[in-house]
């Protein structure tokens, strides 16, 4: 097996089987053989596992949380240790290393598949005042028979995100604004994000709320599938979201149900499509200048 398999899962690994291990005997140290064979056996066992989850596990195995591999000090930086399973939520995967496709892969990294893993749900305690807010929210939700409205909580980089079930958004927003322990009076708008690979929850609407009373900031995230892009409007609770929801409709095609005038705001009224969605191309109109033409950026050669 190639040494690079330590960095992640390579396409074709599954097919290589024991022969790869035999190859490795000739080239690599015994230590590696033991590890590689062990890995193959493990993969056979795990065939029914979700592919993305398996990728994560492999990545974790391979980056050496195991006992055998002695890593140089630079690699042991906390930033280099992968997040434990469960703390991340995988949305799709990244292929290759340089973002180049359609040309011959001369880098040797073209087969690399790495998961795109966003921070997942966090377990209690969240730290600082986060627990107070979560307690107050859960207490109120529990009192109203809507305990399931809160799908989970993410604490990442000192910011807290509440993932709210979309049908309960209006209720939760009302409570966040009015409850005396919460008092999030100020909404800094809606920001749409499109994750085409987050199956069943492709469209995210993100609300940044600010409590001036307690000087706290939280984020509320709601998702909707591409097939049914509807999210309840919060204009009646936060009138400031009027234009923000129109912008998110304009750019992502999220329909905010109950909005008083759901029309485009930045693009012309007769514009086809929603430009900030990931499948919507950038540019697409070749720019010509004195005989030369400039293709849109995503069709140029790039290194990402």
């Amino acid at each position: 097996m190639s040494p690079s398999s330590r960095r992640g899962r390579f396409e074709g690994d599954d097919a290589s089987g024991p022969e790869a291990g035999v190859d490795a005997v000739e080239r690599d140290s015994d230590e590696h053989v033991a590890k590689d064979v062990g890995k193959d056996v493990k993969e056979d066992k795990d065939t029914e596992q979700d592919p993305v989850e398996k990728t994560l596990e492999d990545a974790k195995d391979a980056t050496g949380t195991g006992d055998v591999v002695e890593q140089p000090a630079t690699d042991q930086d906390p930033g280099n240790v992968p997040e434990p399973l469960g703390a991340v939520r995988a949305v799709g995967e990244r292929r290759g290393m340089f973002g180049v496709s359609g040309t011959g892969d001369t880098s040797g990294y073209g087969g690399l598949v790495a998961p795109k893993a966003l921070p997942g749900f966090t377990a209690r305690p969240y730290g600082s005042w986060f627990d107070e807010v979560a307690d107050a929210l859960e207490r109120r939700l529990g009192a109203t028979d809507l305990a399931a409205a809160l799908e989970g909580v993410t604490v990442h980089r000192g910011e807290i995100t509440f993932h709210v079930r979309r049908e309960d958004l209006a209720f939760v927003a009302q409570m966040l604004r009015d409850d005396e322990d919460l008092r999030f009076e100020f909404c800094a708008g809606v920001s749409g994000v499109h994750y085409p690979e987050d199956r069943g929850r492709e469209l995210h609407a993100v609300y940044h709320l600010l409590s001036m009373t307690y000087n706290r900031r939280i984020r509320v995230e709601v998702t909707a599938p591409d097939a049914d892009p509807r999210i309840p409007s919060t204009v009646s609770i936060y009138p400031t979201n009027d234009w923000h929801e129109r912008e998110t409709w304009d750019m992502f095609g999220i329909v905010f149900e109950g909005h008083p005038a759901m029309t485009r705001i930045l693009m012309p009224d007769d514009w086809p499509g929603h430009p900030q969605r990931k499948e919507y191309p950038l540019g697409g109109i070749p720019v010509e200048y004195k005989g030369g033409s400039v293709p849109p950026p995503d069709q140029r050669r790039s290194y990402s």
């Binding site: 693009m267 995503d298 990402s304």
Partner: protein
């Protein structure tokens, strides 16, 4: 409407559309309008003001329904300056994003850069590694920028109500700030100077002296605005009680900045949620209690004094930080080299070029990778708002772990504040719409992005 017997008025033409009769007025002669309206004088008049109108702050389109000179309904049409910056940023590296977002709100470019850079730094988890000098330079540039932005607001606001001297002296002082920007960053606007990890360049020699001269000069000149406006009866009558919006209205509509502070609520992110070391500076949050355009004008005037105080403190601190780093030490984030002054002006550092081309293959690879591919930012999302001259400006940056922003959304205060147009101007006179909007200080580059 002209008939065959009268000559066609080229400045006021009319035409029938499916929406009714439409007249295009560019000033001059209103006779053709009054004649044309005779048959339907009972109907409401809907006036399209803009998007090309000198007193709507750029390409803002106001749709006003009038009854005589009273506005019964006011609506905004925006989007005429939409440039797709947020979409474009998804196709460039994290560092190149600064070059895009600086162009959004073109009167306060440093604030756009700062909020974006702070967000990226939070995702990179290097917030506490930003060198002190970079922090101080950011504060210095942002406060200089606050002065130049407030000057434009006061200058154009004055011009729109006929106070032309306020306009000329406003732009005169702004020019001084732009000269400082040019000296420090090389450009008068669109600087792309504040970058994830620090700032692009160290202070040039002599900059601190120039800054001190500027502060001294501004202390002489700022009182001129107070002399011209504060007690001027015409100015006061045009601004007082116009564009009224109280605290609950501000919170409901998400207004921030001087408009919020004109209700007497001292909410300023520099004090309440300090960033870039604002907690180390001595300054006051300015408020007024009249909820009107005049109060917002006075707040802006007073904030310029506060900014001067901060700039003085920055200059003092920078004097003790000569030669200190202005970029984070992590070579996987920091740009490989700084620019250098050559015989033909500022450009690539020849020492660096010599090093990567002649001495170190590894350095060349590192330079190439960092400049073309960029650095990877751990997956996640961040929102770090700053107090821009117009209110809360925040960048919601989302990363999927790649070398480019997965999504960058800017919560621009101009966009949010413009929603108050209706509530501020309905029921008032047409001429007061202009004053109310000028007191919001919208910048269409930021509204439309």
């Amino acid at each position: 409407m002209s008939t065959d017997t009268t000559p066609q008025d080229v400045y006021a033409t009319g035409g029938d559309t499916s929406q009714g009769r439409v007249f295009t007025v560019t000033g001059q002669d209103w006779d053709s309008i009054t004649e044309g309206l005779e048959e339907s004088a009972e109907d409401r008049v809907v006036v399209n003001m803009g998007p090309q109108h000198p007193s709507t702050h750029g390409v803002l389109r106001l749709i006003l329904e009038l009854e005589g000179e009273t506005v019964t309904e006011a609506r905004c049409g925006i989007g005429y300056l939409h440039t797709g910056i947020e979409k474009n940023m998804e196709y460039r590296t994290w560092v190149q994003g600064v070059t895009f977002c600086t162009r959004m709100d073109y009167l306060s470019p440093f604030f756009n850069e700062a909020t974006y850079s702070l967000g990226v730094e939070r995702l990179l988890d290097i917030e506490d590694q930003i060198p002190e000098k970079a922090q101080v330079m950011r504060v210095l540039l942002m406060e200089l920028n606050r002065i130049s932005s407030h000057l434009v607001c006061i200058a154009t606001g004055g011009m729109e109500i006929g106070a032309l001297t306020v306009m000329t002296i406003g732009f005169r002082e702004r020019e001084l700030v732009l000269d400082l920007f040019e000296l420090i960053t090389g450009l008068r606007m669109n600087h792309a100077f504040i970058r994830p990890g620090g700032v692009a360049q160290d202070l040039p020699p002599g900059a601190l002296d120039e800054i001190r001269d500027f502060v001294a000069l501004m202390k002489k000149r700022l009182p001129e605005y107070a002399d011209l406006c504060n007690a001027n009866p015409i100015f006061r009558r045009r601004l007082e009680d116009i564009g009224h919006l109280d605290l609950s209205g501000c919170l409901a509509l998400g207004l921030s900045g001087p408009v919020l502070r004109s209700t007497g609520y001292a909410w300023d992110l520099r004090k309440t949620q300090p960033y870039s070391g604002y907690e180390d500076y001595d300054f006051e949050v300015q408020t007024w209690d009249t909820c009107d355009s005049y109060g917002r004008f006075r707040i802006r005037l007073n904030e310029m004094w506060e900014s001067l105080k901060i700039i003085e403190q920055c200059a003092e601190r920078l004097a003790g930080l000569e030669g200190a780093p202005v970029m984070v030490g992590d070579r996987k984030v920091a740009w490989p080299s700084q620019l250098a002054i050559g015989s033909d002006g500022m450009g690539n550092s020849l020492d660096h070029v010599r090093h990567i081309m002649g001495q170190s293959m590894e350095a060349l690879i590192h330079h190439f990778k960092l400049v073309t591919e960029g650095f990877r930012v751990p997956a996640g999302q961040a929102y770090v708002p700053v107090e821009s001259p117009r209110g809360e400006l925040g960048a919601h940056v989302v990363s999927d772990g790649g070398t480019r922003p997965f999504r960058a959304h800017f919560r621009d205060p101009s966009f949010t504040n413009l929603q108050a147009t209706s509530v501020m101007s309905e029921g008032g006179m047409v001429s007061d719409v202009i004053v109310a909007i000028a007191s919001l200080d919208p910048v269409m580059g930021g509204v439309d992005r």
